[in-house]
């Protein structure tokens, strides 16, 4: 699947990757794909599996996705951000399956002539993916227990588990 549709956003070079990956995210390859001599600013975010959660030692996470919906949603979020912030390139890729502590679960790369836009778009993309994409983590601890990842705490503010508070909005 193409992350970018050049027909819609001719200013955005296509980055030909899948938004979901069942194997290790290759940050080096993704960085080189996002490389663009027209972009003065490149921002990469990597969300990595922490070695502890709620006081317990994490062995690994297992990510489940509604694959067709998550793929479409990630592409749409990246495209919207690319348009809104006039990015020269943008991509996002999320792991599925077993991700060990210390490994990357999600990567977002945004490229722009100026750094302000690259940061803002990057934050927008990761916040929306985390809040909205139908992807779920199950934490497996070294003590043999497991736990489905809780959703965000936005519900305390919005009163709806599917309505979210976005920190990027005041920066857009």
């Amino acid at each position: 699947m193409k992350m970018m549709k050049s027909a819609l956003f001719p200013q955005v070079a296509e980055v030909d990757i899948t938004p979901l990956s069942a194997t290790d995210l290759d940050l080096v390859q993704l960085l080189s794909l996002a490389h663009d001599p027209k972009a003065g600013a490149v921002v990469l975010f990597s969300g990595e599996v922490r070695d502890n959660s709620t006081g317990k030692t994490v062995d690994y996470l297992d990510y489940e996705a509604h694959e067709s919906m998550a793929s479409k949603m990630i592409c749409a979020i990246v495209e919207e951000a690319a348009k809104r912030w006039h990015l020269t390139k943008a991509l996002a890729q999320h792991r599925t399956g077993k991700v060990m502590a210390g490994e990357s679960a999600v990567v977002v790369i945004t490229c722009s002539p100026h750094r302000k836009e690259a940061y803002a778009a990057n934050r927008y993309i990761i916040d929306r993916i985390k809040h909205e994409a139908p992807i779920w983590k199950c934490e497996y601890f070294t003590d043999g227990t497991k736990e489905w990842g809780g959703n965000c705490s936005c519900q305390k503010i919005t009163g709806d588990a599917n309505k979210h508070v976005y920190e990027f909005e005041d920066k857009a």
Binding site: H66, M69, H94, A133, P134, I135, W136
Partner: protein
Amino acid sequence: MKIKVFAALKDYFDKDFLLEEDLKTIADLKAHLAQQQPKALALLNLCRFAVDDEFVALSHLIHENDEISVIPPSSGG
């Protein structure tokens, strides 16, 4: 209709199954699932529903061959 459930919902339901019941709306489906597994009610109340990969409202009318996904709140990233 064919039902697909995800994540913690699989502690209560098979990950996909067929329903033959006469359910008119998504709200009817939700009530039916809660009746089958009362312990899943709190989680079902947090879920969104999608038909053919598009989110739909509780008032959405179900067609016989719909594939309906029950989507818990995201916990990706």
